[in-house]
């Protein structure tokens, strides 16, 4: 498949990119391009102009600053995968990165691009939701910070304005006794998730859960938070019973569709399973001893 013709713009600063966004007629932003390029090739997207962010060096970072983990719009999946900072402190990010697509795609694809694409089968939006993350956008009127909770509208549709672009994603740096994890079920490497669950829990000094965040992948029209499950966990001590209940509530709150990869009822069940598994890992990462009972 071959794309329709388009103009290619390569701004070198965010400011330049934002003015192009304003000046051009319905341009499309290209970051990693690993989802966009196939869409262009199949002519599912036919923009007259493409604004390519890849020369904007100021967007290429992954760092902790001011109490936040900050992910620049050009940080690639591989940057998360290979980051010692992430491996040490951000379990859900470390889990999710190597589960995204395949190595070549992780070398190019960006976390922000995945979030902007707003495909409910994408992984990063769930992680962002579980962590109470934020999307930082820049437009002609300056910077706007959008809570992840308010970002996703529909498949491929977000609350980002037409003349805005994502410059950064951010989540709070981990607290003491915090643990997070991401579990995903897919049929093979490179396949999208059939279901996925990102969780983050924070324990108080007594070991009671004081904060819980759960984001679900591929089981609704957008990535969604499992709010009932989150609420059920807060105030509880981590236990298999509490996690089981949370898994069940998360499943109840999901609305997957049946497709060739699986029935809706199965996907709901997997939300339960993956959420429980992620909670067990998160509890371990929060400092608890989790004993696995296996064959």
């Amino acid at each position: 498949m071959k794309s329709a013709p388009f103009e290619h713009h390569e701004p070198e600063t965010v400011a330049e990119a934002v003015s192009l966004l304003e000046a051009l007629d319905e341009p499309t932003i290209l970051a990693g391009g690993q989802s966009l390029v196939p869409m262009l090739r199949f002519r599912l997207a036919n923009p007259d102009a493409v604004i390519d962010l890849n020369r904007i060096d100021e967007l290429d970072y992954l760092e902790e600053a001011d109490g936040m983990l900050r992910i620049g719009a050009l940080a690639r999946h591989v940057d998360i995968e290979e980051s010692a900072l992430i491996a040490d402190r951000y379990g859900s990010f470390a889990d999710a990165a190597p589960l995204v697509a395949d190595p070549q795609i992780r070398n190019r694809g960006t976390i922000a691009g995945s979030v902007a694409q707003a495909d409910p089968k994408g992984d990063w939006a769930s992680v962002l939701l579980a962590h109470d993350g934020e999307v930082v956008a820049r437009g002609p009127d300056g910077e706007r910070v959008i809570p992840a909770d308010e970002f996703f509208l529909l498949p491929y549709d977000t609350t980002l304005d037409e003349n805005e672009m994502i410059t950064e994603l951010r989540v709070p740096t981990p607290l003491d006794r915090e643990g997070s994890a991401y579990h995903k079920l897919k049929r093979k490497t490179g396949d999208y998730a059939m279901a996925g669950s990102a969780v983050r829990i924070v324990l108080d000094e007594e070991g009671t859960i004081e904060t819980a965040g759960i984001g679900l992948t591929a089981v609704d029209i957008t990535n969604v938070r499992a709010t009932d499950a989150e609420e059920s966990l807060v105030g509880e001590r981590p236990s298999k019973e509490a996690f089981k209940q949370a898994g069940e509530l998360a499943a109840e709150q999901s609305h997957p569709e049946s497709d060739e990869h699986g029935d809706a009822s199965y996907k709901e069940r997997m939300v339960n399973v993956l959420t429980q598994r992620a909670l067990a890992d998160a509890a371990e990462r929060a400092g608890l001893v989790v004993k696995r009972v296996t064959a």
Partner: protein, 200 residues
């Protein structure tokens, strides 16, 4: 129709091209530069037959426009024999594919070789699992992957050995590169290691 002037350095040689922005990097490499070793096997970015190394990283050149590669350094299978590790012949990865029967129809092979190079560039001694992960973006319909994994392991061992030889100024003799029948001391060869093969 707008076009752009770009510069690509492919296998050490710099080319100036005028391309439409929509031209995929794989088409620029194959059609404009006549380097047809890299292939196209799908339209969704799944198969990896178009894998090249761009600025040190394996990428799918069907998921990148040529204009995005302006100014970058690209390595394709055609450059492997000129690599210093090739020592005037085949690169150890290429040799691995030949010795370990890592290819059949050959169509995915250039992409696999480049994915293999990216693996070894980053991690000279990968485990089997790391090799399988590293080539998981490349589909092969012929080999079942087992011999591809062995081919990359062969290269890893060979590069190690070369390193040791260079370091020790001598070292052990290389195994016979010619054919052997599979039985030690049978055809005059040194015997072929049947790891995972018959009756092992």
């Amino acid at each position: 129709m707008s076009t752009k002037d770009i510069t690509l350095t492919v296998n050490g040689e710099t080319h100036s091209l005028t391309v439409e922005p929509r031209m995929l990097l794989i088409h620029a490499i194959r059609e404009e530069l006549d380097l047809t070793g890299s292939h196209i096997g799908c339209d969704t970015g799944n198969c990896g037959a178009c894998t090249v190394v761009k600025d040190g990283e394996a990428i799918k050149s069907c998921l990148t426009f040529a204009v995005q590669a302006d100014g970058s350094e690209i390595e394709t299978v055609e450059g492997m024999e000129d690599h210093p590790d090739a020592d005037g012949g085949l690169h150890p990865i290429q040799e691995g594919f030949e010795q370990e029967h890592g290819l059949q129809c050959g169509y995915c092979t250039p992409g696999m070789i480049m994915a293999g190079k990216a693996i070894l560039d980053e991690n000279p001694n990968p485990t089997e699992e790391e090799i399988r992960e590293g080539i998981s973006g490349n589909l092969c319909r012929c080999t079942g992957y087992q011999n591809i994994v062995k081919s990359i392991q062969y290269a890893s061992d060979k590069l190690d050995e070369n390193g040791e030889v260079a370091a020790a100024d001598g070292g052990r003799a290389e195994t016979d590169g010619g054919f052997t029948c599979g039985v030690e001391n049978c055809c005059g060869g040194t015997g072929f290691d049947h790891t995972g093969g018959d009756n092992e």
